[in-house]
């Protein structure tokens, strides 16, 4: 095993943990008037950690320690980059929102970072208990964040719902883990795979289904998706963004690692494959179809994110470097496209106190920048060239076709086409509907930066996808 130093390998995790504690302390100790500096502090610290993590991606060493309990490979670091970028953008776009919070502003950032730390642990975990710990750290932080607007009934309702359903799914996941431990005497993914290998017993089958359900809940795989829209709608908009983007990506990181190491063994037979294909197809179909009649922007984005989870499943099922590369690539561009849309949603929510689609009417006249950003983001999500979403979908579906999964790719194509309808109906409202009586929506400061930056990245990656694609390939290859 290569010599390595805990400190260097774990620097990002340690830094985020410390930062989170510092913010918590500041929130408690410093008088309310002096807390304005918390956002810049968070932003610049995150920027520093993000820079280090990027450096780590290109020049860091691969390492696995504590007997494979925690992995430091390019796959994990790629996801850390993704979480940190998402956290950074969410913090940047939440400035105005947090200012309006009645209390506990400091804890908001601390909890956001705690959730980020949980995600980073999930990406690096090579062992089931570590996965569980990371997942719970993330989820419990989210329970609080979702219910953050304590005076708002919808937010509280969403918090309760998420708590109950999240606990249910955690229980199922934990049950699955304990079954696996009982069967194999280990929780190390590599050892589990070795000991399960070849033989499929009813108990191991049950464990597999439980694991799938537990993780499927987090990525909102149909039929475990029902919580999504209600919680997305009720939660504070920046939290919704983080939930939709980063928590989903973290669960995908775990799912990929677990799937490739264990489910992918001979034990996971053709039936399992078929089952996953069916689930992916249903997820794409249900997500896209229910999105059509939605009237609330956040609910629409929730269903759209369910559909996107279906696309990502296609890449996992392809089970090739190309497929995983597609998933990684798509997860990254998904951050920017969604962040753009959510930043606009946050802005509208902040200025008009609503996230109904009809309240976007005439936004073109009221805020051209927000309209352009929203349009670019939605078109990217719909997969229209030359935006990044097109390249991402192309990678995913072509990887599936290469492995012979033609039917699922066609379902993906058709569903993408359907998605254009509801994305464009939002665009139509912004451009064509009369927005008389609605206020002007000026865009200033950090949120403006978030909007312009995400849009530029979405366009740039669409025009020149090679650098990101190469990063995704490197990360995917570290798994095989």
């Amino acid at each position: 095993m290569v010599e390595f130093n805990f400190a260097t390998v774990l620097t990002p995790e340690i830094a985020i943990a410390v930062l989170s504690l510092i913010l918590l302390a500041i929130g408690l100790l410093i008088p309310a008037g002096a807390r304005k500096g918390m956002m810049p502090l968070t932003v610049f610290s995150l920027l520093g950690v993000l820079g280090y993590t990027l450096y780590d991606f290109f020049y860091g060493q691969e390492a696995a320690f504590l007997g494979g309990m925690y992995m430091h490979d390019q796959f994990a670091v790629y996801f850390k980059v993704l979480f940190l970028a998402a956290a950074l953008l969410v913090v940047l776009s939440s400035g105005g929102y947090v200012q309006k919070l009645p209390k506990h502003r400091g804890e908001f950032y601390a909890l956001l970072l705690a959730a980020t730390l949980g995600m980073m642990l999930m990406a690096g975990a090579g062992e089931l208990i570590t996965i569980y710990v990371g997942l719970e750290l993330m989820t419990i932080s989210f329970y609080i964040l979702v219910a953050y607007l304590a005076d708002d009934a919808r937010s509280s309702e969403a918090g309760i719902k998420y708590l109950v359903l999240g606990a249910t799914s955690s229980a199922i996941l934990l049950y699955g883990i304990s079954l696996i431990y009982g069967l194999t005497g280990s929780t190390q993914l590599v050892e589990v795979a070795g000991r399960l290998g070849g033989e499929l017993t009813p108990a191991s089958l049950l464990a597999t289904v439980f694991l799938l359900a537990g993780l499927g809940f987090k990525i909102s795989l149909v039929p475990f998706h029902l919580w999504g829209p209600d919680i997305y709608e009720g939660a504070p908009t920046p939290v919704t963004a983080f939930l939709a983007i980063a928590s989903k990506a973290a669960a995908f990181a775990v799912l990929i690692r677990v799937y490739l190491l264990t489910m992918n063994s001979q034990a996971f037979s053709a039936t399992g494959q078929t089952l996953l294909l069916v689930l992916a197809a249903i997820t794409m179909i249900v997500g896209n179809l229910i999105a059509i009649p939605q009237t609330n922007l956040k609910r629409l984005l929730a269903y759209s994110s369910i559909a996107q989870a279906g696309y990502l499943m296609v890449g996992i099922i392809a089970e090739s470097t190309a497929g995983i590369k597609g998933v990684l690539f798509y997860a990254m561009i998904y951050v920017f496209a969604n962040m753009g849309a959510f930043a606009v949603a946050t802005l509208i929510d902040e200025k008009q106190g609503s996230s109904e689609i009809k309240d976007l009417a005439g936004l073109w006249r009221r805020s051209p920048l927000a309209t352009v950003v929203m349009t670019a983001s939605l078109l990217s999500l719909a997969g229209i060239p030359p935006l990044a979403g097109f390249v991402g979908k192309f990678y995913l579906f072509s990887a599936a076709m290469d492995q012979g999964y033609v039917a699922i790719a066609y379902i993906g194509f058709v569903m993408s086409m359907i998605s254009v309808y509801y994305y464009l109906s939002v665009v139509k409202v912004m451009f064509l509907a009369e927005g008389e009586g609605l206020p002007d929506v000026p865009v200033h400061g950090a949120i403006k930066f978030t909007m312009v930056f995400t849009m530029l990245i979405t366009i740039a990656i669409g025009l020149y996808p090679t650098p990101l694609a190469q990063m995704a390939i490197a990360a995917a290859q570290s798994l095989f």
């Binding site: 309760i160 719902k161 109950v164 359903l165 249910t168 799914s169 199922i172 499929l200 017993t201 009813p202 108990a203 089958l205 049950l206 597999t208 289904v209 439980f210 799938l212 359900a213 809940f217 039929p223 475990f224 029902l226 919580w227 829209p229 209600d230 037979s269 039936t271 399992g272 078929t274 089952l275 689930l279 249900v286 179809l289 229910i290 999105a291 059509i292 009649p293 939605q294 190309a322 192309f394 990678y395 072509s398 290469d402 359907i418 309808y421 020149y464 996808p465 090679t466 694609a469």
Partner: protein, 648 residues
């Protein structure tokens, strides 16, 4: 030493990048200030010109090395399994020559436009388009693969559209812009098909790789699909040049394109964009060479036909710009048939010299139009030489050059093409070329004598144009006089730019003499008719009134197209319209209805009830487990429910 040259050639991308930067600067920053916009644009193109000259000198110095091994730099743009697309630059004598010609003419035109476009409302917009055009054209010249070339090819088409319709408040300008765009699209569609065909057969669109695939894997190609396929590809690719370079029958857009400002006509519709088709055929000559001889014969035949066809129309036109436009078509035909008869060097040589003297004459015509306040009918002009000595003299140089008079530039290139046509066994094409040379000399002299000599018209009060316009004329005149001398040294133009084995050919003075004679005959005939008036043009026209009418109306090609569109296309359109409204829309609307309906039904699944959600969750786990268990054949015997109790 060659290493250093390569370092230089690596910077070729700057040549298109600078004008593009200038386009962005004008569009986003300086558009309010006319002076700043034009300064930025002209500075950018002049820097590109200096770079192009540096690269040209580098190529001359590198000599044999660069002739055999072009300097290619590729950057990967898109790479996925089964599709790799590069963007890059190729520097070889051919592209270096094109870079020089394009940047030179573009610089001259942009400087000239300072005077010509002075006071125009859209002055900044004009320079933005000019910069965008220069950038696209130069990017096309440097393309290393067909897709990259195609992207820039379409971009120059876009710029051409924008500049033809520059005065969009004139209905005729709008119509001409649309016509140009749509007519060239017909050819581009063929080119696109050709590209797809090439890609599916060879898996690459890179010029070097395609050439290698065709030449080294000769046998493989035969196995994949016999040379017949290659011929089809060649024909499809050639459709692009037919549209872009105005070959018959897609030539109709070019004369109408004269609706644009005259400097635009000089740059885009005479010297640069319209030769893009010729350049494409030259770039992909390996394809045409490899295809069955029919492909090259077709090119030769079509080119020769276009040459004589357009020249004959030019005789009977009265609009100064239209005469020049038909002359351009005719000369493009010349370049095309030169490629067809195997005179690769000759064609490129003529491309270069033609760019010099045709740009010169267009700018000269612009100078006249400017002086006469936008009169374009040659019969409204006369005796302008005395009033506009610089314009008149430089125009006369242009006329001599295009008529092939020694030692002007056109003499050398025309002579090389005609000599090659005869040597390579195409006597008929040689005859057509020679006769076209006679016609060219005739109609160009006719234009010159009527406009610049003849009696002055009292209602005109012409003045020589400002320096910004006359200096470009003088510079272009310089190249029209001396540009042909590159044929003379031992390492001459043909040594640098040739295809296949190089054979040094001495200038065939006998043949050259015959061409000169043909030119002199044309000039003489025009002199007798329009200056001495020994022959009355009216009575000749009256005697052959049928022919005259045919020529005057450009063989009624436009009318024929109109008839086809009215009677056949519209009829088909009506049938398809019905089909579209009732069948296609019916299906589409039906599908949409089903989709929306199912969305509304599925929506009910989200009740908002926490209990329901939890129940569905557990129920789903059980269903998935059952499905999984039943699906597993080795477990088929076990009752899956038993396992829930922990039984093994």
């Amino acid at each position: 030493m060659f290493k250093e040259m390569h370092d230089l050639f690596q910077w070729a991308w700057l040549i298109p990048a600078l004008p593009f930067l200038s386009f962005l600067i004008i569009a986003f920053i300086t558009k309010r200030s006319k002076r700043l916009s034009s300064t930025v644009s002209i500075l950018a193109i002049l820097t590109s010109l200096s770079l192009a000259i540096a690269i040209g000198l580098g190529v001359i110095q590198a000599g044999k090395e660069i002739v055999e091994h072009p300097a290619i730099v590729n950057v990967n743009w898109l790479n996925i399994v089964g599709l790799q697309i590069d963007f890059g630059t190729i520097v070889d004598p051919l592209s270096a020559m094109m870079l020089f010609v394009v940047t030179l003419v573009a610089s001259m035109v942009q400087i000239y436009s300072l005077g010509y476009m002075h006071g125009d409302e859209g002055f900044s917009r004009y320079y933005a388009y000019q910069s965008l055009f220069a950038s696209s054209m130069l990017g096309m010249v440097l393309a290393t693969n067909l897709l990259q070339l195609f992207i820039f090819w379409e971009l120059v088409g876009l710029c051409s559209y924008l500049l033809i319709g520059f005065w969009f408040f004139k209905v005729s300008a709008r119509e001409a812009a649309k016509k140009a765009f749509m007519t060239t699209r017909v050819g581009d569609f063929g080119l696109l098909l050709g590209m797809l065909f090439l890609y599916t057969k060879f898996g690459t669109l890179d010029f070097a790789a395609l050439s290698a695939a065709l030449n080294t894997n000769f046998q493989d190609v035969l196995v994949i699909g016999t040379a017949g396929y290659v011929t089809v590809m060649a024909f499809l690719v050639f459709l692009g040049p037919i549209g872009k370079s105005g070959q018959f029958p897609l030539h109709v857009w070019l004369p109408d394109a004269m609706e644009g400002p005259t400097p635009v006509s000089a740059l885009i519709h005479a010297a640069t964009m319209v030769v893009a088709g010729v350049y494409l055929v030259a770039r992909m000559y390996f394809l045409f060479d490899f295809a069955s001889p029919a492909a090259l014969q077709f090119i030769a035949g079509l080119g020769a036909f276009t040459a004589i066809f357009a020249a004959s129309i030019a005789i009977a036109q009265d609009d100064i710009k239209r005469i020049l436009a038909y002359s351009t078509l005719s000369q493009l035909g010349y370049m095309m048939f030169a490629l067809g008869v195997g005179s690769y060097s000759g064609s490129m040589f003529h491309l270069m010299t033609h760019a010099f003297f045709k740009a010169l004459m267009f700018l000269g015509a612009g100078s006249v139009i400017y002086a006469l306040h936008h009169k374009q009918d040659i019969w409204d002009m006369g005796g302008l030489w005395k009033k506009m000595p610089i314009t008149g003299t430089t125009f006369f140089i242009g006329v001599l050059a295009i008529s092939g008079m020694p030692p002007f530039a056109g003499f050398w290139s025309k002579d090389e093409i005609l000599a090659n046509a005869l040597h390579n066994g195409h006597p008929i094409i040689y005859g057509v070329g020679l006769f076209t040379a006679f016609l060219t000399a005739f109609y160009m002299s006719r234009l010159f004598f009527v406009v610049f000599m003849g009696p002055e018209k009292p209602e005109n009060h012409p003045h020589e144009s400002p320096w910004s316009m006359t200096i470009p004329l003088m510079i272009l005149a310089f190249f029209s006089v001396f540009g042909g001398f590159v044929a003379l040294p031992e390492h001459n133009f043909a040594w640098y730019i040739h295809y296949g084995e190089f054979h040094h050919e001495a200038i065939a003075w006998g043949l050259a003499g015959i061409s000169v004679l043909a030119g002199l005959l044309g000039i003489g005939l025009a002199y007798i008719t329009y200056v001495k008036k020994l022959i009355s043009a009216e009575s000749v026209a009256g005697q052959f009134s049928g022919v005259y009418k045919l020529l005057k109306n450009k063989y009624y090609v436009d009318e024929l197209y109109l008839w086809i569109i009215k009677n056949i296309m519209d009829g088909m359109a009506k049938v398809l319209y019905w089909f579209d409204i009732y069948i296609v829309d019916g299906i589409v609307n039906g599908l949409a209805l089903v989709t929306r309906g199912s969305g509304k039904v599925l929506r009910r699944t989200n009740t908002g009830q926490l209990q329901t959600y939890a129940m569905v969750f557990f129920f789903a786990v059980v269903v998935i487990f059952m499905a999984f268990a039943i699906g597993e054949s080795q477990l088929a015997a076990i009752n899956p429910l038993a396992t829930l109790g922990g039984a093994k």
